[in-house]
């Protein structure tokens, strides 16, 4: 602020009054201001009112803290961190649900295939038709997936393997892709979560593309091989869906990364008051 002396005839401006209240005027200007205020009731009143305003602001009660603002180990707020942990627990739970769901689905599909209505071609034929490589892939894949999910898991690998065993090589690969997806996630490696999700989505979209022919083949048919194919694809779809569900939940539970434009630290300045 410029602290040029002002003509005695003029009233003091707000900036001058403000600086006067803060005792921030240079000696010369301050003397002139004092002289003017002593003589001018209007300026005196404004000065006193300005003082009163400042006094009231200083005495505003400090608000109560609504909570503590400490941060969590991930650099999220401690509160978010808690909510996230809770969600993670529910995510772990949802994996059990998803695994159980997948197992049920696969088991059910498998059962309908193994006990075909109508003139049976022998079920053993179906298993015999399995390409060895598909069986290998499917058998190895579900195991790590289900491992962390523990309890309901054991059902899944067997049925999945059985279902996938009879599938045409193409769908078997897809099923294996979907089934192998949870492996890194089960290991608890977080950074790979997104990859896993992508993998699951890719698998899902593959299934979606594979769907139309499946739909036609769902029409009752005497050919158990075709029914088995569609059953396997359905099973894979169910598996992929339940995984998607689980991973979506997990993704939503991740605290949002807040991006803040770069901030240059303030220059160190001396503490003090006016």
């Amino acid at each position: 602020m410029t602290q040029s002396p002002w003509p005695a005839a003029e009233h003091a401006g707000d900036d001058l009054l403000s600086a006067f209240v803060d005792d921030a005027l240079v000696a010369d200007t301050r003397r002139q201001a004092e002289r003017h205020v002593a003589a001018c009731a209007s300026c005196r009143e404004r000065l006193e009112e300005t003082r009163a305003v400042v006094g009231a602001l200083r005495r505003l009660p400090a608000p109560e803290l609504p909570r503590s603002f400490t941060v969590g180990p991930r650099g999220a707020s401690a509160r978010d961190e808690l909510a996230w942990r809770r969600l993670r627990r529910s995510y772990a739970f949802s994996r059990y649900v998803a695994a159980g769901f997948a197992a049920l689905f696969v088991g059910f599909t498998g059962a309908t295939l193994v006990v075909p209505p109508g003139p049976p071609d022998s079920p053993t034929d179906i298993r015999a038709a399995a390409p060895a490589q598909a069986a290998g892939a499917a058998a190895s894949a579900p195991a790590p997936a289900a491992a962390p999910a523990a309890a309901p898991a054991p059902v899944a690998p067997q049925s999945a393997a059985r279902a996938a065993a009879g599938a045409a090589p193409a769908s078997a690969d897809q099923a294996a892709g979907a089934a192998s997806a949870p492996a890194p996630a089960g290991a608890g490696a977080e950074p790979t979560g997104a990859d896993v999700l992508e993998g699951a989505q890719r698998a899902a979209s593959n299934e979606a593309r594979a769907l139309p022919p499946v739909a036609t083949s769902l029409v009752p048919t005497a050919d158990p091989r075709r029914r088995f194919q569609s059953g396997a694809v359905l099973a894979g779809l169910g598996l992929a869906l339940s995984l998607l569900l689980a991973f979506n939940l997990r993704r939503r539970s991740r605290p949002p990364a807040t991006a803040w434009p770069g901030f240059a630290p303030a220059p160190a300045d001396r503490p003090g008051s006016h």
Partner: protein
């Protein structure tokens, strides 16, 4: 407000060097020493608990994430926080200006029939002298009427007790800008409180002169 409260404390210095090494608990000790004034700044600038909590949390999270970039000594940490929090407040206010919220409008409505603004003396006065609930409400309503920059200036200087220099650093503006924002904010508040009723009790009991318009 205590300009350097706690910062000479050995515990705080220890926490600071812990935080330097990336220790969350060390950082959280710093949070605990500073969260009251920082929240106070946000609350008085934003006018409601919810926004103030968001801005405060955002400020501390930002400080935590960019703590490595902070090169200053422990004494400068508070000023750095004030700057981060000021930014967080202005960000929120800009968002709110685009989509005005009810909370701010609520603050603007004064109760006409309540007691007039009265402050026993023109003196800034001792902190012990409590304001009446009505005066508090009117001052808050007056703050809500200021533009964000003026409000931030007056909250930093008069409510939080920062020096002009500290406020200039917090707002990242020139010293002169702080002074002019502050003086305009005070003048607006003065006029607002006068409008609301009796201004502060009349100055030095006077000699005859009726107040003349400047």
């Amino acid at each position: 407000m205590g300009a350097s409260s706690g910062w000479d404390d050995d515990g705080v210095r220890a926490a600071f060097s812990l935080a330097r090494r990336g220790d969350v608990r060390g950082f959280n000790t710093l949070v605990e020493t500073t969260q009251r004034p920082i929240y106070g700044l946000c609350y008085r600038t934003l006018g409601n608990v919810e926004d103030a909590s968001d801005a405060t949390q955002e400020a501390f999270l930002h400080a935590y994430r960019s703590f490595a970039a902070f090169q200053g000594p422990p004494e400068a940490f508070r000023a750095w926080l004030y700057r981060i929090a000021s930014n967080a407040c202005l960000d929120l206010l800009r968002k709110r200006r685009r989509r005005p919220s009810e909370s701010l409008d609520g603050m603007l409505e004064p109760d006409a029939d309540e007691a007039p603004f009265q402050i026993a003396s023109g003196d800034p006065g001792p902190e012990s002298q409590a304001l009446s609930a009505e005066t508090i409400r009117r001052v808050e309503a007056g703050l809500a009427r200021l533009n964000p920059e003026q409000r931030l200036a007056v909250v930093l200087c008069d409510v939080q007790g920062l020096s002009y220099d500290e406020a200039a650093a917090a707002m990242a503006v020139e010293l002169g800008t702080v002074k002019s924002r502050l003086s305009r904010a005070r003048a607006h508040l003065r006029e607002w409180l006068r409008e609301m009723g009796e201004p502060a009790e009349p100055p030095q009991r006077l000699h005859l002169q009726s107040p003349t318009a400047p």
